[in-house]
Symmetry: C2
Subunit: 725 residues, 2 copies
């Protein structure tokens, strides 16, 4: 999977903490470090080969870290004083698509603006976020929380965060967010300049930018030129502004120097970006649950849903087409879940984490505040165990809404009707005014993705599993709507789907526009069913938030114990990833994925020709093939391999959200762009196993060669101070 | 594919030639050398690392070559003075299966005779052939051929060969054959002692001997313990005898010493065995035809037949079961053809061979006898072009008989009826008395592999392609039986299959037992059709033999030119493989199968656990997994890897028939057993590409460890003079 994260922007939150980490030595090459932690691990950074001053990396508002920006889900970086931004091709895909026409298909042909005037808008939603301030605000966020528990704790933290953000965003052109670091231990305010006039400057053809597509996805060896250039523009006053022909290039506070040196196995490398979510510091019981119950259950259910769709649509080509996308999503989910399970087992993650936690608790027992800390940890464990106990029920109930089309529509219509009664800011996320267009789009799409036979079969399978749960797991509303045994369920499904009119697009859109009270009182049986189920959903959400509040209160005890224990070992603790800026360091690394196989960490253009079939996704464009055959690689050729490199692999610590992250050498110069991980590392969100965790990058020498010799953009090379060939 | 070749034993022919090769230097590591050629390439053998005396390898009736025996399709070797034979597990599969019962499944459990008394018969058909004499008899074979052409040349060579064999086999216990070396240039008589009392001594469970099965087939890295032990017995008089409890172990003229030294990348290795067929010295036009027409056509037709079976059986689960085996065979054939095509293109085989041949012809033009030689070569080329011109037609006609069940049965019954009128030795191969049991078995099997819808669809597809051929390719008999257009063909097929009674097993067996004249006159429409087609088959066979006779006469001119040209380059020429004993030498070699991937040439037991799923073919037995976990590898552990190796890879030159071949070290000691090639080398039957040609072997250290620690056979270790652990 490419390392892009579809982040709900309303949730995007980015703060850095000056954590209790100074002077620690960390596990070699593992870690998504907050820049502020880097001076504290300066010794190990230098030992690993970094030749700059670690202190210079500590402040993300100053160069070079201020050159690293977020696109909202992807990472990018400035590479010229005139606002030139480099990121992944797949991160710029929306902009490429937007500017494509049947006459000029930029996806197929690529794009190369000869002058600034020819640069095209990346669209009104495109953003570049430049961090301008950050501040620890733990005391303010938790001021009113002391002494509270459960839902009250949650609500106080939520309200304080919203107030801080609202205050911070009073100045136009800025976007603010609050980040929760170390699971509620600390909170930070991040203020970002929100650049809104973003233009597409250069993109290779998709057959280069996404060479290998789904087949090579997650795989090494890789031969993708996954890069594209944007330019950020601002108003003539230098302030963020929407697209206008009068706008001028933004002058960033810093930009990266592109390296002209070769890259080789063992070289130091570092990477900065906005990794989304990791679970490295979850408790041992959570690791065990994931490996022993969560993932196996997920594999089982996804497999069953795949089988259900396949048999229910076996006789109908039409139904097969309608469910192709949902089926592909389920298969991808199953593959990932199985890969994560295999990886966690291969790494013996449960045993490793359990032994580590036991040692931590033994250390804790010898500390002065052991009893209170231990009590909080045990209280948190009890809450987690509680959520595990109802997980299958909760997830089955969720799948009934997410894996259906008509029932989901009915539920969305009822939920929206209920939420419309509240002031907009108090509405549930996903049901605010700005979400209504999205809901309308989904209600329109139903027609292309729905078949009553298949939807009934999916619900029958989910309800069969639901009925097999222990009696104390039953939900009264679900039983009332779908009955308590197989016969009743089948009868209920037959009636609901025979009588509902939600299969008609006009009817769904009419209900979307109807008054909330009319929706709530509508007689359509599926809408009635949704109205009956709604209280159960709200009850579950409320319980989640109450538990969430208590975990926000209790988990910090565990984190403080872990940080203290690591300190006693002379090691620092990086916070789990939460979409805030992090730095990883390591080296260009080979991989032994399995016995007898060795992956070389650099690929070459020879591999492009080897994979070329003429059919997508292996349809290397003729100009590329001709240039490879010609062998004119100039200054971008590798001095040892005597040919042009394409991608390279490091052991850098990454996860989803790191797409587009600049990969830097020992002197902080740009040597690559991160764009994927290897399949063996799919379990790395839980555990970094140095034997298997690798990150996959475009070599900037490939980028330079394409710009110099294949789809020439000499003006961009000049702008980046790079040799013409 | 495992390197076993199902050889028609009546065709087995083994002779060595003292070829015109003394003093040549060959292409490094390419070559299936006749032992008699080895003294001539002694320099390069020693340079490659061989530490013995090349002269000692020259005579295959003396040690150590006399330790290398044929099982008829597989190679094996003696490893003790008491007739102990080691070969591949897959070569001993027939014997293992024969001795399996529901109560004692040797396939699943393996077999380990604690004493000689417990060794079990490998069955009445099992053989070990020990070469005892060889003699160049070119003059005798060709004595009456001079001046003849075409079919007459063929018949004279055939008659002379049969006479020589009959004379040689007058002494009981011997099997003789004539080998054609360098495409008719030389003929040799091989005399072999035919040992008939072969007993199974030891076999690991299939989950070790065939670990990975079809999934790992042709693949590296590999983790298969593909070995088993036989013992050859003779009568008390020391002469070959059928199984008898009174028989005694055979005392071989030589046996191999099993190495106790480690194996490492770069080590010298050599291999002796009976490779089946290669095409390395075919003409450039044959290479071009194979790549440009033969293989693409094969890929196309096999794909079409696969599609035909799949659609014709889509609605019937029953038909799908009946055609599962034929479908698997076609898919395997398609995969191989595509792999061969891809490999020949990757190696640019046509260009390489064409340039080499052009250089040879340029050299030839400067030789005294150039004109006559060139005339013969051109005559041969014309004949080959002729056979290429009708290849599609001939192969389609062949597929009509080989890919059907009822039409094939009808044809076999008519052909047998025709052949039964001749004295047995003059009957066509496959229709002699000894073949009748096989035909009966096939006629019985029809019931399990036949569905009229599918067979008609297959014939319709083949006939559709046949009808699309140029008019001059049409066969009158085929047109008469199946009509000249689609409608006529469909009507003919409908009538034939509606009215035939050959779908009934009793009817087929009745016809098998019936008098030839009654079969020839039978009214069954499918039998009538076969009778109508028979003259066309006979005509085609006759034309093949006539062309074969002329090529036998003309190809030697090409071979003499090639040998002379190579000699001028200081290089020797090994004859193309023809199931006679050959020796390859090379080294333990890594492989770069594609850009970014490096295959390490030794695998370890860690890979067994990595692949283990608990489900066949990756269901490593518990005793093996426990022994691996225990890590007690004793003297068989690799000193560098610090663990137990399993398989290793060399660049030795092999092909089908080399299964079970002993792999020897620089001092001639047994270090492995050959059992497969890598996928990248599937085109090696035409061209040895040193970048991709590898052979895959069981490491004898794995064998020793299994015998010492996992399924102990301390008596066998003692018998082979090996340490107990």
């Amino acid at each position: 999977m490419t390392e892009q994260k579809a982040l709900s922007k309303s949730l995007r939150v980015a703060v850095l903490a000056a954590a209790a980490s100074t002077g620690f030595a960390a596990q070699a090459d593992e870690g998504m470090w907050m820049p502020s932690q880097l001076p504290g691990i300066a010794g190990q950074l230098r030992q690993a080969g970094f030749q700059g001053d670690p202190a210079s990396l500590a402040d993300l508002t100053r160069p070079p870290m201020s050159a690293v920006v977020s696109l909202g889900g992807c990472t990018a970086s400035f590479v010229s004083p005139r606002g030139l931004v480099v990121t992944n091709h797949h991160c710029a895909m929306g902009a490429i698509q937007l500017n494509s026409t049947p006459q000029n298909n930029l996806i197929a042909n690529g794009f190369n603006a000869a002058t600034q005037a020819q640069e095209v808008s990346a669209g009104p939603a495109a953003r570049v976020f430049v961090t301008t301030a950050f501040e620890r605000i733990t005391d303010r966020i938790l001021a009113d929380a002391r002494g509270k528990t459960g839902r009250a704790y949650y609500d106080v933290v939520d309200a304080a965060s919203k107030a801080v953000v609202a205050e911070c965003e009073q100045e136009a052109g800025y976007r603010c967010s609050v980040a929760n670091m170390y699971y509620g231990t600390d909170f930070y305010l991040v203020r970002q300049l929100e650049l809104k006039d973003i233009r597409l400057v250069y993109a290779p053809p998709e057959a280069i930018g996404n060479y290998g597509d789904e087949i090579d996805n997650f795989m090494w060896p890789r031969h993708s030129g996954d890069f594209a250039f944007y330019r950020a523009y601002v108003g003539k006053d230098g302030k963020p502004a929407a697209f206008s022909a009068d706008n001028v290039p933004y002058q960033p506070p810093a930009y990266l120097t592109v390296s002209t040196d070769p890259v080789a196995e063992g070289d130091f490398a570092m990477l900065a970006g906005y990794p989304g979510t990791t679970y490295r510091h979850r408790m041992a019981m959570e690791f065990a649950d994931q490996v022993q119950a969560g993932l196996p259950w997920r594999v089982d259910v996804l497999g069953a849903l795949i089988g259900t769709i396949e048999s229910a649509s076996a006789a109908s080509q039409d139904a097969q087409v309608r469910y192709a996308s949902q089926l592909a999503g389920l298969k991808n989910g199953l593959k990932r879940a199985q890969g994560e399970l295999d990886g966690l087992r291969r790494s013996e993650a449960v045993r490793v984490r359990r032994e580590d936690e036991a040692a931590m608790l033994a250390w804790l027992a010898r500390q002065p505040d052991a009893a209170a800390t231990r009590a909080d940890i045990e209280a948190a464990q009890a809450l987690i165990a509680q959520s595990h106990a109802s997980r299958e029920r909760d997830q089955l109930f969720g799948l009934m809404r997410s894996q259906t089309q008509l029932l989901k529509s009915a539920y969305q219509l009822q939920r929206l009707a209920a939420e419309r009664g509240k002031p907009d800011p108090q509405r549930e996320r996903g049901y605010q005014q700005r979400d209504e267009a999205l809901i309308e789009g989904a209600l329109k799409q139903v027609q292309r993705r729905y078949d009553p036979m298949v939807e009934k079969a999916l619900l029958a399978e989910l309800l069969r599993r639901y009925r097999a749960l222990p009696a104390n797991q039953r939900i009264a509303e679900v039983d009332a709507v779908f009955g308590r045994d197989a016969a009743a369920t089948q009868a209920a499904l037959d009636t609901l789907y025979a009588q509902t009119r939600l299969g008609e697009e006009a009817e769904r859109l009419r209900l979307l526009a109807a008054a909330p009270a009319d929706v709530a009182a509508a007689a359509d049986p599926l809408l009635r069913a949704a109205a009956q189920l709604l209280p159960a959903v709200l009850r579950e959400e409320d319980a989640d938030k109450a538990r969430g509040g208590d975990l926000l209160r209790l988990r910090p005890a565990y984190m403080r114990a872990l940080i203290g224990y690591r300190q006693s070992q002379g090691r620092a603790v990086y916070p789990d990833a939460n979409s805030t800026l992090r730095v990883s360091y390591g080296k260009v690394s080979a991989l032994e994925p399995r016995d007898g196989v060795h992956y070389v960490p650099l690929t070459t253009v020879a591999g492009i020709l080897e994979k070329h079939t003429g059919q997508a996704p292996f349809d290397a464009p003729a100009p590329l093939r001709e240039a490879i055959a010609k062998g004119d690689f100039g200054s971008t050729a590798d001095p040892v391999l005597k040919t042009q490199t394409v991608d390279f692999m490091t052991n850098l610590d990454t996860t989803g959200g790191n797409s587009g992250s600049p990969v830097l050498d020992a002197r902080g110069r740009l040597i690559g762009l991160n764009f994927d991980s290897n399949w063996e590392a799919v379990s790395a969100s839980w555990m970094y196993d140095p034997r298997y965790k690798r990150a996959i990058h475009v070599d900037v020498r490939y980028l330079r060669w394409l710009l110099a010799k294949v789809y020439p953009a000499p003006h961009l090379l000049r702008e980046m101070n790079l040799p013409a060939e």
